[in-house]
């Protein structure tokens, strides 16, 4: 069957969904308004529910947006050939890992059941783990025993790092690595004709993640090169294994930047902090995703690009609405939103 026939439904659905993607500028114009976002804006962003029933709290807002994203991801999955759906399922798994991280934090700090429940996001059919069951575990050791029944490898990785509360970032890093490892494995499961496009797109995202981790581990946390290199994902696009190994040996930002491939080096021109570097890379990837959405036809990667952009859009919307809900000043909200597009 041709790609046209295989992805006709998906292509049509992505095109329909893509109309919901609104530029950040249109959102910025509402920062100074004392009122909520207008219903027609929310409707054009595909979120009429937010206008009909404005969320009462920040967590309600977050849940609404996540539910919406899950619903769209599910809609895309249904339009995809069955052998390609695993990648979207793994993509959405990030939210489950976010839930797990929240749960671990709650267990480590002895949060009450009700409080812990508030931190968890309902990700609908993308949930693979019985979080509610985990929630009722007595402590972290019981939680890990329960987790091991469903994902022994992840439970083992968490156990390695859980005992040292000073180094909990290593635990998060191990979980994130687990996620990207799964994403790469899901990409390898794709039919060969879809694999290359997906690998290139995911490779760019992994490059961004690796670069940020690299800077953070080497410069902010002062980890040694072998340890840093161990925690990096090896399947980036431009930052391949040998490049990462070389970068991990360097110990200051400027030398690292100089050792980056030309594209990244230019992108990080004038940058002097990890956060700024992260934002520059993100903007670069968002631009690439927009290009894919515009020019790619009848390919799985178009759906991935849409999800990537949509997630960013919902995050921006979340920042604005949450800022308003919590009564933050327009300047603060603008700063949060523009942090991503500065420079």
């Amino acid at each position: 069957m041709s790609d046209l026939a295989r992805f006709a439904f998906l292509n049509a659905r992505v095109s329909l969904y893509a109309a919901r993607l609104q530029p950040l500028d249109s959102l910025l114009s509402y920062i100074d308004s004392a009122h909520e976002l207008p219903a027609d804006y929310l409707e054009s962003a595909g979120l009429p529910g937010l206008a009909d029933q404005p969320p009462a709290s920040a967590s309600e807002l977050e849940q609404h947006l996540i539910s919406h994203l899950s619903m769209e991801a599910e809609g895309l999955m249904h339009a995809m050939p069955p052998e390609t759906r695993g990648l979207i399922a793994q993509w959405m798994r990030r939210f489950e890992l976010m839930n797990l991280k929240s749960l671990i934090r709650c267990k480590l700090t002895n949060c009450s059941l009700e409080r812990s429940r508030e931190y968890l996001l309902d990700i609908g059919h993308f949930a693979r783990l019985p979080l509610d069951e985990f929630l009722h575990s007595e402590d972290i050791v019981e939680f890990l025993r329960m987790l091991a029944v469903h994902d022994a490898s992840l439970a083992r990785k968490i156990r390695l790092h859980i005992e040292d509360p000073e180094q909990l970032f290593l635990l998060e890093a191990a979980m994130d690595y687990h996620f990207y490892e799964g994403l790469v494995a899901a990409c390898k499961q794709l039919p060969s004709r879809e694999q290359e496009g997906a690998r290139r797109f995911l490779g760019r995202i992994i490059d961004q993640v690796n670069l940020v981790w690299l800077l953070r581990y080497r410069i902010a946390y002062d980890l040694h090169p072998p340890h840093t290199f161990f925690m990096l994902v090896r399947t980036g696009l431009r930052l391949d294994r040998s490049r990462l190994a070389h970068l991990a040996r360097l110990d200051d930002f400027e030398t690292m930047r100089a050792a980056l491939p030309a594209e990244h080096c230019d992108c990080l021109e004038g940058v002097d902090s990890v956060t700024e570097a992260e934002m520059r890379m993100l903007q670069n990837n968002l631009a690439y995703a927009r290009k894919l959405l515009r020019h790619e036809q009848f390919h799985l990667v178009r759906a991935l690009a849409y999800l990537y952009l949509r997630e960013r859009q919902l995050l921006e919307l979340h920042q604005l609405l949450k800022g308003k809900l919590l009564g933050f000043s327009p300047e603060l909200i603008r700063e949060a939103l523009l942090g991503g597009v500065a420079a």
Binding site: H150, L160, H161, L170, P225, P226, F230, R234, A245
Partner: protein
Amino acid sequence: MMFGALPMQHVTLYLLKDELPRAAVVLAKLGVIAPEEGDTDNGETVRPGADFQRSFTYASQLFRKIAVSLEFNPVEVMQESLPQQVDQQRLDEILDCLQPIWQQCNRLEEQVRRLREEIRHLSHQQQAVARFFNLRLDLEKLSADHSFLDMRVGSVDTSELQRLKESLELVNFKVIEFDRQEGRAHLVLLGLKGLDAQLNPLLTAAGFKILLVPQGLKGYPDELHAGLAKELAGLREELERVDGERSWLLEKYRDDLEEAARVLETASPFAELADYLVGHGEIVTLQGWVPEVELAALAESMREELTAFFWEVRKPLPEEIGRVPSVQRYPAFLRPFSTLVRNFGTPRYDEFDPTLLFALTFILMFGSMFGDIGHGAVLLVAGWLFRRKLGDFTWFIMLGGLSSVVFGVHYGSIFGHEEVIEPLWMSPMEDPVMLLVLAVYWGIGFIALANLLSILNLWRLGLRREAILGQRGLAGLVFYAGLILLVIGFQRDGAAGLLSLVILTLGGSTLIAGAWQETTARGGERVLIVMIEVVETLIGYFSNTLSFLRVAAFSLNHAALAFAVITVAQMMDGVGHWLALVLGNLVIIVLEGGIVLIQVLRLEYYEGFVRFFRGDGRAYRPLRMKQTGTQRPAGQESI
């Protein structure tokens, strides 16, 4: 009531808040009320059972975890010996009792996990050590205290091996893999001394477990092996000790756990009702559905057991019909058929219940397709012999067998032998064409009946336009009658009769009018949609009718298969002859019997049920007492 549900009444109970725990037990013991969500007044209404439900859920979870951990099975108790009621205070006491028990169990479970992991790890090490000493390495040199060489022997998960190797290359460490077992790679790491600061965090992150440090190499392999064996024995002893502690815990807390089981069993109805209880202050409301015949018993129990209550009883309102649970009570022989009907869907409260009709047509079709005195008798006997295992389905097998016997008498067939008795009617092979024609007539009757029932159901549902103008309504039935008369006319006289044409035109034009009204499309698209619907109806009726040819086809098939078995058996002598007969008939009974069963179900579901049966009713699930379950979740081992 054979073709419909028992009349139900909507009951609103007004109960005293303090008596809720007792009322829940009374209602659950009687097991007649199917509760439903009550109306809430602008969010002001409180849920008086919410706290109780939360405590109950937590206590039940704790109890289940303890029971699984300690392998505790509560003794089944008679309902009479359960507590009269369980209130919040009693439930909290049980929680206070269960929490420390679970803390001890949790500690034990974790100990067991660690010990098991250690034992597994050491067992691997034992084997790895044996292999390590088989390596062609100069151990004396390696174990010497070199001022520049760092050597470590240990293991890592195979999933981490590659990136560990690559990371170690950054500090010029070499990795030699010498063994691999159950997902762990056993390695020798060799590099320059003095890099601990770089090496140790990496090895921790990779989950590298040290097996030998250079000093360990000085021991002889046997000594090292023995050392590991000793360590293993120690761990196994420790495991036994923990197991003993578990038994001790179980004995220590057995009475508490028995009591907790009783309390939780008694508390479960109130916890279940919590979702449905609403009210302000001291009066709490519970709404639900009760079969009319049970109302008197309900009133009597409530009067006997509660100090005060008030109730309102009324018939279901028209707008409520869709959510009234449907209760059917069947004699034992209809229960398996009812299960098969519910496999398709639950009849709505006001819907025609097809169970009896399904049973009759099923028995008739099965017998006619599988008619043989011998084969039927085997089914009869098998059904009786396995009645304990078959439960309700005993009747299903036996009635199928009986029907086969009756049709066998008409076909004159015993295990395929048609010369033993004179048929009451004829052998299927004698006049196959007649059999096929009869099957088509049976199909026509079946479809016409299904359409009539569809009209009845649509009318009851208030879908009057569809009942008259729809495909499954009167128009469809008239159209079908016209079609049948047309075919009969052509078959008998070689031409279409006037009557058939009139009926066909009447049915067809009504169908067209119905489809025209229903579609919202415009112009040519509308014409196209209507035409497609009429053509689809026409083809559908033809193919559905012809589908019944399988009734005749399978009775012929049955006779032919039995004839083939006899022929093969006759080609053999002695044991071979009897073996061929027995095995052949066994194949017929099991394989062909199964196929016939599937075919009849297919006819019932897809030629019958889809025409008239919506099956979107609400099952009747009254509040009942529940036992506290203690099954260990899949994948979790017991201690």
